[in-house]
């Protein structure tokens, strides 16, 4: 089974530039997550989609970050304009929709995109 794919793997930009990351989840996974992992910290959820709808974007800095999942499959995360503090690894994860009374299904993570903002 193919895993979660992300690209690019590395990106270096200057502050105030724009950048976009792409994620292709595991086939059949309706739920997709974007996390930000700053060095020395655990992943922090930025946004969660179920199919092409947003279910949680409470920690997404909406003045500069945006994300979309137009067809309920691939997703892109954009930063415009980037700040120095956006330097981090951006992780994408996917899971099946919880069912049978459970609130959770295992999340499978991609390799991440390491962003450096100079």
């Amino acid at each position: 089974e193919a895993g979660v794919a992300q690209s690019p793997r590395y990106k270096i930009i200057e502050k105030r530039q724009s950048v976009a990351f792409w994620c292709n989840p595991i086939s059949g996974h309706a739920t997709l997550y974007w996390y930000q992992q700053i060095l020395g910290q655990g992943p922090k959820l930025l946004i969660q989609f179920q199919n092409n709808g947003v279910v949680d974007d409470s920690q997404l800095p909406k003045d500069r970050f945006s994300a979309e999942r137009l067809k309920g499959v691939d997703s892109t995360l954009k930063i415009q304009p980037a700040k120095l503090e956006d330097s981090a690894v951006y992780l994408c994860a996917s899971s099946l929709v919880p069912s049978g009374g459970s609130s959770y299904n295992e999340q499978f993570f991609g390799p991440g995109t390491r962003l450096t903002v100079l």
Partner: protein
Amino acid sequence: AQSVSQHNHHVILSEAASLELGCNYSYGGTVNLFWYVQYPGQHLQLLLKYFSGDPLVKGIKGFEAEFIKSKFSFNLRKPSVQWSDTAEYFCAVNGGSGYSTLTFGKGTMLLVSP
């Protein structure tokens, strides 16, 4: 809001030593608890999970964790570590929101010397 605290940021052990990594969470309701591991150069992957039932859960590669509700803890253990256990370990909690949201701790970097 949920939060997760991992007690140690860095742990260094010799092979065959016993391991215990602490994890405490703050959430008053029903929780699902997880340990994830990230080996050097690899993806985050699930090590073990607790949803309900027996509070002692066993995961892959000989790891186990014990859920102690009264202490809001979910410590990870392994009786004898190997060099290949060198990795970063993350404790995470899902507070039953219905949307599988995970809150992670800051992680513990384990270095096992041969």
